[in-house]
Amino acid sequence: MSDFWIIVFAISVMLGAVGGAAVTTWFERRLLGLWQDRYGPNRLGPFGIGQVAADMIKLLTKHDWVPPFADKWVFIFAPTAIVVAMLLGFAVVPFGPGLQIIDLNIGLLFFLGMTSLAVYSVLLGGLASNNKYALLGGLRSAAQMVSYEVFMGLSLMGVVMLSGSFSMADIVESQRDGWYCFSQFLGLFVFVIAAIAESHRLPFDLPEAEHELTAGFHTEYSGMKFAMFMLGEYLGLILISCMITTLFFGGWLAPFSLTFIPAIIWFSLKTFLVICFFILLRCAIPRPRYDQLMSLGWKIMLPITLINLVITGAVALWIAGA
């Protein structure tokens, strides 16, 4: 692609991601409604889709307030950081053959780096609010991210070993003869759990935990800044779903050689299903206690990851030797 088209493509990806995040807020509520035997927002427009616009207007027109006791500049910076980091993460997602803003040869590392940067947003938001609940939320997020970051990266190393590359496009190409969700199912299992913790969504939304911490790290946020946090969270959900699709479900590759359907459609469909699965998890599983979360991470997830890593390495070596 020429420079001009890359810019056009980048802008459309950005708008698409933000729009997608907005629609996901509505879609999630409808889906939660379906699974909880109710309707969810269904008044405004067909199937209640107008709710997205209504929520947007409400958030934009709300009083954008910085509490006098907060650390002003950090308070304003925090919500921006999460959105910027998550949007940057979309740069390495391969939406189709050649449809990628930039094919970094360390694409995977870039993605991991961006999601880790997003943690700072939560952390700083909690710290700058100067509020007990927010501080507790920030504290929790710090501990949660530190422990889950470890094996989030490690769980993907099996994929890297099998494909022999950190580049997203190469990883997708190498799945032509078998998606990694089969050979790397342990990696997938761990990555899904780590990804939920990373994007701090239910059931691992301990930094937020409405029932104990009122709203956790964004207790003091309102209006546009609150909207930024929400946008960041939903962008994170979409980004993580894109990543799971790319790394484990063959990205834009068509299953059963149904190649007459365009690659981008396959990619969107798979991502959509993964998003549905995340919403299902949110609907079904209650939030664990804080210490349970930590012991799950260190005592179960980390060993599983290491075992997966050792086995994958051994098999890869054996295949290479044979």
Partner: protein, 179 residues
């Protein structure tokens, strides 16, 4: 290890159960279009009822006002010149305070006070939630068709002397020693 497997299976089963809920019907009642069923004894808006004879039942005894937890009933007792019946000169209920508990209905000795199945009382102005006697009074006996307080009570009014009420014996002259 066994705990681990058990909890994993339990989580997976939870997810499956929730997934099956895709095929169940929503419980939601689409309220303004679809009205819920309200039992005849439902406690909603308050009305003041009348005797079978068409006279107002309330005798202004103030028991309802005393029973009301948020103190939202206010009334003034008056005596009617022509027959000696007691009646409320004004009767005012502040529905923005009322919690529809029904204690007033239970306290009322004359069955004048009744709660009816209607809860849709929305107003743009708060003052409009204060109902006066003319807004509360209905033409009819409400839930108790035959009850008439003055016909069973010992109180003397025009046209009914003491001892003439239903199930009432003639008054005894306690100063007389005659058997």
């Amino acid at each position: 290890m066994r705990d681990l497997v058990e909890s994993l299976v339990s989580q997976l089963r939870t997810i499956w159960t929730i997934l099956l809920h895709s095929f169940t019907k929503a419980e939601t009642v689409q309220y303004p279009e679809e009205k819920p069923y309200l039992a005849p004894r439902y406690r909603g808006r308050i009305v003041l009822t009348q005797d079978p004879d068409g006279d107002e039942r309330c005798v202004a005894c103030n028991l309802c006002a005393a029973a009301c937890p948020p103190d939202c009933i206010s009334l003034q007792q008056g005596t009617r010149e022509e027959d000696g019946r007691w009646y409320p000169e004004f009767f005012r209920i502040n529905f923005s305070r009322c919690i529809m508990c029904g204690l007033c209905e239970e306290a009322c000795p004359t069955n004048a006070f009744q709660l009816i199945p209607d809860f849709e009382m929305c107003e743009y102005e708060r003052e409009n939630m204060i109902y006066e006697k003319e807004h509360l009074m209905i033409d009819g006996p409400g839930k108790y068709h035959d009850y008439n307080f003055y016909r069973v009570a010992g109180m003397e009014i025009e046209g009914k002397k003491k001892g003439q009420a239903e199930n009432e014996a003639e008054p005894i002259d306690i100063r007389s020693l005659l058997p």
